[in-house]
Symmetry: C2
Subunit: 634 residues, 2 copies
């Protein structure tokens, strides 16, 4: 796929944008006129900058309110076009985007518009330039690509073609099969944008809410398939208007854009015969979470280990060459790393005690790794001792690590190969608490990184994302969205914090970055687990009695069950599939905590309970030095 992106998509000034675009791996760039006008350099300076960075200028855009103007205005419009042709020649770009007229002065009429384009094509041809016509979804007369195509067809000029934009076509729900009959040489360029499904005014939606293909809810893949079926193999260019992107990191947004196109091309090439897309393994099937690893110090490890033991974990093994202990319960493996060298120690130095790494068990770790790299994931390597395993590792949320393991290779046997079994400390309670598996891992990220990580996980792993849910923290709204796979073997809840007074925002601020904020373990008997935890000295999070009065009435629970839930501080929820029980630990450090859940068919994550749990966590943290308005989160 030949990739391109419009400068309007990114924040920053023109030179920063071009640099970030080149660095992200794009082949081309659309110059958005205002970016050029605000830049204090000549068109040829801009052209040179782009060429020096190896970028083709795919398009100069937009040229507005062109076709169907009444005489008088018409000639001025052509003069204006000639001026832009001058700029384009200096820039060194061959194509201009003309978007459908929105002017109240415009007259309409397919033949009139076609005649205007024929003349513009003639003028462009004299300079070796091309004109692409795009139907805006809110164009005055032309707001459907089928009408734009009819105008281009009637203009019947070699230098006039069609520009298709996924947002304009999909937002109006225009049948995308209408694209399949357009000759590929008349599609001059394709612009792509996705958007979350919110029912609102098209222009407002387009100007503020667009996002990268795969980040939203529009059928951009089907749209691109329709285009690929024509044989089109030109540029696919991102043109995204988004408030977050305008305020975000130039480089990070550019990188997301590139990943979104690579991923899109991969999906399309699996469905239709097309030269777009590069060969890479399929999305990795996830079998489970291999382990979660904490970075900490000898000093701070004691408290963490005490909590793990209170949760029923036992120390099962220690690493052969590093100061890493392995704790186990059911299928759950937790590593505690107190090494004073290596990446874990560096992570500890920056973030304090934190769950900085996780292992994702897939069907083929090497395939997953290759796919991740093809999708611009950042690889990670560090020296490995003789005889120990070298894992394929990529960087994840907050710069933390994602180990890829499988049962195909020796990687799945890491606990035997890299670790040696230790005798159980006779002083500790040998009985576990019935915890079986990791149910889900909650990662807290800055709100403007949410889309980045949703795209990261869903493009590399065979997972889907759930719709976004607003979680009400007493100090603000936290946006929550889940990445999960069909089997439930991988469930990651992503919580995006907009302000630092929320529980999530406080965690990010205090931890100096995004990361794992809580781990949820599953049990198949929440009451027996609760009793066993109580015996081990585990202190659950205290939930307000008012909560229990409400759920008793709301769900029609028996008095008996309600009393048991209340006695154990267990939260309750129900969906059409079944029941859900949640038990929380108190917080540890700057807001890290554990959760224990029992699912009786239930498929959600207890979003309705979040407000009560957050209020309780905040209340509990306060006496331990957190100011009243500082907040804590999901």
């Amino acid at each position: 796929m030949k990739t391109s992106i419009a400068t309007v998509t990114l924040s920053g000034e023109l030179p920063d944008k071009l640099e970030a675009i080149a660095k992200a791996g794009f082949d081309g760039v659309e110059i958005f006129e205002n970016d050029f006008l605000a830049f204090d350099g000549s068109p040829s300076d801009v052209g040179r900058m782009a060429r020096d960075l190896g970028l083709t200028i795919t398009l100069f855009q937009p040229f507005r309110d062109f076709e169907g103007m009444p005489e008088g205005l018409r000639s001025r419009t052509f003069d204006r076009a000639e001026r832009k042709f001058d700029v384009m020649q200096e820039l060194g770009t061959g194509m201009v985007l003309v978007c459908s007229n929105v002017s109240p002065a415009a007259l309409g009429g397919i033949d009139r518009a076609a005649a205007d384009f024929r003349e513009l094509g003639e003028r462009a041809a004299k300079r070796g330039l091309k004109v692409g016509y795009e139907a805006l979804a809110w164009g005055r007369f032309v707001n459907d690509h089928r009408d734009a195509w009819e105008i281009v067809r009637r203009a019947d000029h070699q230098n006039v073609g069609l520009i298709l934009d996924s947002f304009h076509s999909l937002s109006r729900k225009i049948d995308i099969n209408s694209i399949r009959s357009i000759p590929k040489d008349k599609i001059f360029i394709v612009q792509l944008a996705d958007a979350p499904l919110i029912d609102m005014d098209l222009l407002y939606w387009s100007r503020h809410f667009r996002n990268m293909p795969g980040e939203g809810d529009l059928p951009v893949t089907a749209f691109t398939e329709a285009i690929a079926s024509t044989g089109y193999d030109g540029y696919f260019s991102l043109e995204i208007f988004n408030d977050q992107f305008r305020g975000g990191s130039t480089q990070a947004i550019a990188a997301d854009g590139h990943r979104s196109l690579i991923y899109l091309a991969d999906q399309v090439r699996r469905k239709v015969e097309t030269p777009i897309g590069i060969a890479m393994p399929e999305r990795a099937k996830v079998k489970g979470v291999g382990f979660v690893e904490f970075a900490t110090s000898e000093d701070e490890a004691d408290e963490l280990i005490a909590i793990l033991q209170a949760l029923g974990f036992r120390k099962a093994a220690k690493h052969r060459s590093k100061k890493v202990s392995l704790f186990e319960q059911g299928e759950i493996r937790i590593l505690v790393n107190v090494d004073t060298a290596g990446f874990a120690n560096a992570a500890y130095a920056v973030h304090g005690t934190s769950a900085y790494a996780l292992a994702i068990a897939v069907d083929d770790a090497q395939d997953a790794y290759n796919r991740a790299l093809a999708l611009d994931a950042e690889p990670f390597r560090q020296p490995v001792a003789e005889g120990e395993l070298e894992f394929p590792v990529i960087r994840g949320v907050g710069g933390g690590l994602i180990y890829l393991i499988d049962d195909k290779s020796q990687l799945g046997r890491f606990s035997e190969i890299d670790f040696e079994v230790v005798a159980t400390d006779p002083g500790t309670d040998a009985a576990d608490a019935g915890l079986l598996r990791i149910d889900h891992i909650a990662q807290t990220v800055a709100y403007d990184e949410m889309l980045t990580w949703l795209l990261f996980y869903t493009s590399i792993f065979d997972t889907r994302k759930t719709p976004m849910v607003d979680i009400i923290d007493p100090s603000g709204v936290v946006r929550s969205q889940v990445v999960e796979n069909e089997s439930g073997a991988l469930r990651l809840t992503m919580n995006g914090a907009e302000n630092r007074r929320t529980l999530a925002g406080h965690f990010i601020a205090e931890k100096f970055g995004s990361g794992i904020q809580h781990l949820a373990f599953s049990t198949d008997d929440i009451f027996s687990t609760a009793a066993s935890l109580r015996a081990k000295g585990f202190r659950p999070l205290h939930i307000s009695p008012n909560y229990y009065d409400d759920i008793e009435a709301r769900f029609g629970l028996g008095e008996d069950l309600t009393e048991r839930l209340k006695a154990e501080n267990i939260l309750y929820d129900r969906d059409e599939h079944g029941e859900y029980f949640q038990l929380y630990s108190r917080t540890y450090g700057e807001g890290f905590f554990f959760e224990i859940v029992e699912r009786r068919g239930y498929r959600g994550y207890g979003a309705a309970n979040a407000i009560f749990r957050i209020a309780a966590l905040k209340k509990q943290m306060r006496p331990e030095g957190v100011p009243k308005d500082a907040g804590i989160s999901l």
Copy 2:
């Protein structure tokens, strides 16, 4: 007006909310159920807290999915209601809000619903409680207050009445005259919310975008007039779901809410006979800006004065008792305060050199002051020397001062009474630059304060607000909205910065708060002013030549005019009323600057030019120590 507010409107935990509500001056509070459930205290604890603060609990809300349930679910729904009645009695509140059913299980039918309410009314009556029914705009069968009223009418029970909510009625454009025939004793409570006019899904709009009456675009005043015409004199209660409010300052949002109700009541009592509203003077008619005062130090004053002189100002007078100089040109008066005591010095200590005060000339300063205080404005007083004027002063944006002056009293003669004329320094150029008046004053505020200050100005002064405009800063979006009066004597542009990398955000961060970021002066001959400024050594902001190529083509300007604009770095715009010319100074300190404008009939503020001007300001600031990504603003 009996005022009330729902706890859901504010951020924070329940005790903080109640305190802020009492402090803002509300008479009552609606307890939003989730706030109560998350609170770790009994219903009677909550009731006591409210009573101790002098607050009546006006409503317990919401009770959902009640009416029209099929048998089986129906009896559970009544059980649920009885449980809530228990809570209400403990809380000490007499009324519950039942909102129209949204459940897929609901059956519909006006008579069925009426029967359900009759039974609920019977049950409530036994406990001395009342039930209010509200039509949600997205209710499954009942989504119109006229239908809800018909149900209440047929329920025909003394303890069952109607709850009207401005958002639910106005968002669906229901004829508000339908309210006038409802008997006042059947309107149990009125909820008020406004919202910006954005065409989107009703539920999404309601949950995220509501705001205080007068802050949005809905005809809330007409709605309230219709209610007042029934003779209703019960509680008017704010129920606002807004993402900004949920993350904002609890006290500031509560204060805004109280002001919005006082202002609303005042507007209504001027139109219909009603006991709601208190007597206060009319909105003040603004005649102009009396002066703008800078707080600075002896050291820093030199640079500021040099700029003023380069702009053609001359020192005209000095204060009789304070170190304050008066600079004049045309009708413009600028005060430079270097006093080492008093509020100006304190403002300088916190914010550095800044335009911390302005005087607004009104028809009657004392009336304006009285109105401002009735609308919860904060008065300001400091000692005044014998024989000098004591101004009515209120606190404005960023804690700065707003002096109120008029020609009725001696206040308008302050420059003679408090100041003495000084001889013009023979070394300075006596000729002015043709600056006539203050065209507008640009205040930069944190985005979440925008609504606060729009309401402040529009409620006290006879002004209107323009629709919000997005200004594209290279580092993010800045929201801009103007407060102006009919004559143009007062024009305040408010720029709300969401991130600190924008020019506006940088200003707030560096100045430690919101404030005046730029002053625009008017001339009636921009070219003659530019020439005269040039002669005085004024250095204009350099604008990219690319800009001029574009406006020449876009507006069809003559080559001659374009060359003159480019030579003088003058920006150009045009609307249906005429032409606009803008000349900018370079920035001073952390982003303060001056603008000179000529209006030839034009009524806007050059929003289309903002992106070019911001890019130029940022570029200019960079060499002077501002990091590339730090940004500067409007």
